[in-house]
Symmetry: C2
């Protein structure tokens, strides 16, 4: 994709969130790849997952090592081909990469929002991104796509704006979290909230970071992103020093790896954003207002659907994707479903697995623009 | 089993641990149920798992609600029938229920050991319990049994003292931890160690407890003890207050349950014991000295084996038990294996599932005393 430049747009109209809270306005940071055609029919919105952002593809001139998180998918000649599509990546409201969020200044106080930033939901993100679509002159997305939490946003687009999305591509996702999913999120949240440096969410004003909590949150999250078998193949019981050292230093490579991932994450991600995002995951449940009847909830969708899952994903297993597929089929909606054999667990959706990319390419090639 | 009374025995001979560290002596707290017969042929040792102890069955006169953790299994007429067997429950070295451990006074300093208590291994526990067998006049156990970490001890007995154990009963266990198992233990340890109240393991001397860390450790551990399906059936997405509250109070019942379990655990368990015990789990690997050849490692065993696993146990799945079974079969050792359909995940081994107790009863009835 070459060098790309993030853009920023401000919206001054207040937005009322699902919680009832209101923001007086907000800014979104986004990137675009490819060219919007004259009829505006070739736009694809890529929605990010928990820790992702607007930097989907390409690299930055001042930091060529910072490559977009879905760069293997998006670019000229790639499955999401920017010779054909105009691709938009956007950082969600409540994020920590420039979009208005807990680290932004609260216009009412002149201080950072911190814990006063309201909770946002998948529905709120879609509402906010609709304003971005308006701003970019996109009446209808050719497709909205994403993995994990990004897939939930694609699904929500098909429900909140049935006439503004032609294809919803829901990958490695679920129609709602299970009790176990919520449980892992809750451990992560409690790790952050119980860190003494959290200060009730107002750590930034004090110039500190709840590093330990963020680190633990990432460590436990990371375990759920990888498959048991992949972790076994990659790390197994390999020792850092060839022997058991009978200390609490890392004995096994997997310990060292998790600590590294935790430390790295705590160095760049915002704790309040982590909390908000896990709550958005927990709350997402389009069938909630339909007496738990997912088919009834999805009845109003008009998009065509592409749903994909991965065999070793135990965070959002294939059976969770099949729930979506069956609910769509009950409505006689158009749906293509791919269950990909891949060893990499939940994170498979980020990889360029041959079969996975082949079905994505085939589906995207068949979208008319 | 009625009222029982814990007993205590001290050993003044020093014990050299696998780490090379030495304890000048130690005390074990234990309980017994039933009567040792004249030939000493009817003794069964029950080994506990991570947070268990010597209180296997019965209740205490001063606290009748404190019922042993395997009371459904052990007693007159129960599968481990105390009319036939003399059953011994013992609290492991390094524990926090009275056996010498981090909360004990270090004779060298007159202060609590805390972080100075040496790491102990499954091998060390078996060596310590062999002294208890000597003390009780038990030359050979009719059986050594346990679930999870307790099953590892039963397996280790068959290797360290092949002539002192006739039956090894290894339930819901594994021949070694997987990378994922170690990963979860490491998150729990880091939660404890990074708690500012941990004070490098010397919290007791300061009169404080790393409550937050222990609480998080238990929360993440607890998730791995339950099956996804059982958690779904029991909690699903049930709300505490019938609505999403957009706060970090518990929204979902599963959050409230995990917090309760974490708080309860932090109120009675010792953090250093938790650390030591998870390391003992991580280190256990009888095949390590045999070039990862489990069959070679188990060759020296002379016991008959009973191995059982549970269909929904994802901590130590049935495939982990089958590794043990296959390694035993390669040696043409006697082995009975039961794979039990039970919805309760790893914790199934503690329950009185009908089929599970029936096979245990059948196996134990066939042990000659």
């Amino acid at each position: 994709m070459g060098f790309v430049v993030p853009q920023r747009v401000g919206f001054n109209e207040p937005i009322t969130l699902k919680s009832g809270a209101q923001l007086p306005g907000f800014e979104l940071v986004f990137e675009t790849y490819g060219q919007l055609n004259a009829s505006g029919s070739n736009a694809v919105l890529v929605c990010h997952a928990l820790s992702g952002g607007h930097h989907v593809a390409g690299m930055y001139a001042d930091n060529p090592k910072n490559i977009g998180w879905w760069d293997n998918l998006v670019g000229p000649g790639k499955p999401l081909d920017t010779n054909k599509f105009f691709v938009v990546g956007v950082n969600n409201l409540g994020g920590c990469y420039g979009t208005t969020g807990p680290l932004s200044l609260n216009p009412e106080t002149g201080k950072r929002y911190g814990a006063d930033f309201p909770m946002v939901t998948v529905e709120d993100w879609v509402a906010a991104h609709a304003r971005l679509a308006d701003h970019l002159g996109i009446d209808t997305w050719a497709a909205v796509m994403g993995g994990s939490l990004g897939g939930m946003q694609a699904l929500e687009w098909s429900l909140q704006f049935p006439d503004r999305i032609r294809h919803a591509m829901v990958i490695a996702s679920a129609p709602k979290l299970s009790a176990q999913n919520i449980a892992f999120n809750e451990v992560a949240r409690q790790a952050i909230i119980s860190d003494p440096e959290f200060h009730g969410g107002h750590y930034a004003e004090r110039g500190v970071i709840p590093t330990n909590g963020l680190r633990l949150a990432r460590m436990v999250g990371h375990i759920t992103y990888l498959s048991d078998s992949q972790m076994g193949d990659k790390f197994g019981r390999q020792l850092c020093h060839g022997e058991h050292r009978f200390s609490y230093d890392a004995d096994f490579e997997i310990e060292s790896y998790l600590r590294y991932q935790g430390d790295k994450f705590a160095g760049f991600f915002d704790a309040n954003t982590y909390l908000i995002t896990t709550k958005a995951l927990d709350y997402f449940d389009p069938a909630f207002a339909y007496n738990d009847d997912l088919a009834a909830a999805l009845a109003r969708a008009k998009a065509s659907f592409f749903v994909a899952s991965f065999s070793t994903d135990w965070r959002f297993s294939p059976s969770r994707s099949r729930e979506i597929v069956f609910a769509l089929m009950k409505n006689r909606h158009r749906v293509a479903y791919a269950e990909i054999d891949c060893d990499a667990g939940h994170d498979s959706f980020l990889l360029d697995d041959t079969h996975y990319h082949a079905v994505l390419r085939a589906y995207l090639e068949n979208i008319k623009v």
